[in-house]
Symmetry: C2
Subunit: 138 residues, 2 copies
């Protein structure tokens, strides 16, 4: 695990520091998306708020994580899986928010269906946010 983390950081030309390692570890150990507050809680307040913000920002810029627009307009982050590392498949995502447990999941298995927009619209990116009840809460 630690090795994998180092590899990811170095690969993105980032110094390997305590904060980055810890936060990346969290994402790797987690199957659902994390909000800033979740991260602060889970790191046991070992790092400054500002460091968490800056780390998330850096990871975003490097494409290590992506942000998810949720239907309640809060911000969540999730790891970009394998398929993201090569080329950019960021552009079409399905996310699922469970209204029972509150988890936000990145559904990589499913591809975004085609939408037929009225003539003249050029599509660059599609985000689909599905709200409902997840597998575990059903």
């Amino acid at each position: 695990m630690q090795e994998q983390i180092q590899k990811i950081l170095k690969h993105n030309q980032l110094s390997v520091t305590g904060g980055r390692t810890k936060i990346l570890e969290l994402f790797l150990a987690q199957d659902d998306a994390l909000a800033h507050a979740d991260i602060e809680r889970k790191t046991g307040e070992k790092f400054d708020r500002v460091t968490v913000y800056r780390t998330l920002q850096t990871f975003l810029e490097k494409g290590i994580i992506h942000s998810i627009p949720t239907s309640d307009n809060s911000v969540k982050y999730a790891l970009c899986k394998d398929n993201c590392s090569e080329g950019h498949h960021h552009d079409h995502h399905v996310h699922f928010m469970c209204s029972v447990c509150g988890k936000t999941l990145c559904i990589d298995e499913v591809s975004v269906p085609v939408v037929n927009l009225p003539a003249g619209y050029k599509v660059e990116q599609i985000q689909m946010i599905v709200t409902g009840v997840c597998k575990d809460c059903a």
Copy 2:
């Protein structure tokens, strides 16, 4: 126009006041979604910030407008069109954000395509956010 506005407000058991009338008027005259800041600007700062917040909140609760989760995690609001007034078709929406002019449009013409989620997921609501270039900017 003023008549239509009164009708909408009364229908939702809201007193007809200057602020509500003005803000509803803005939405009716607008084809794209508005952020809080847009409304403050367009009303010419005639109303207190707080009043705008409260009015938007009230309209949301009554289902007169709906909020749109944008891919940059800001909040926008748009009128619920005719089809919304009867029953609740709020649940499946396609929104389009133009990366050139910045407009956010509610694409009512198009219905949200079916997604095949892995077994066990129960879908309640689907929001689709398409980013790209709109008709007018193409």
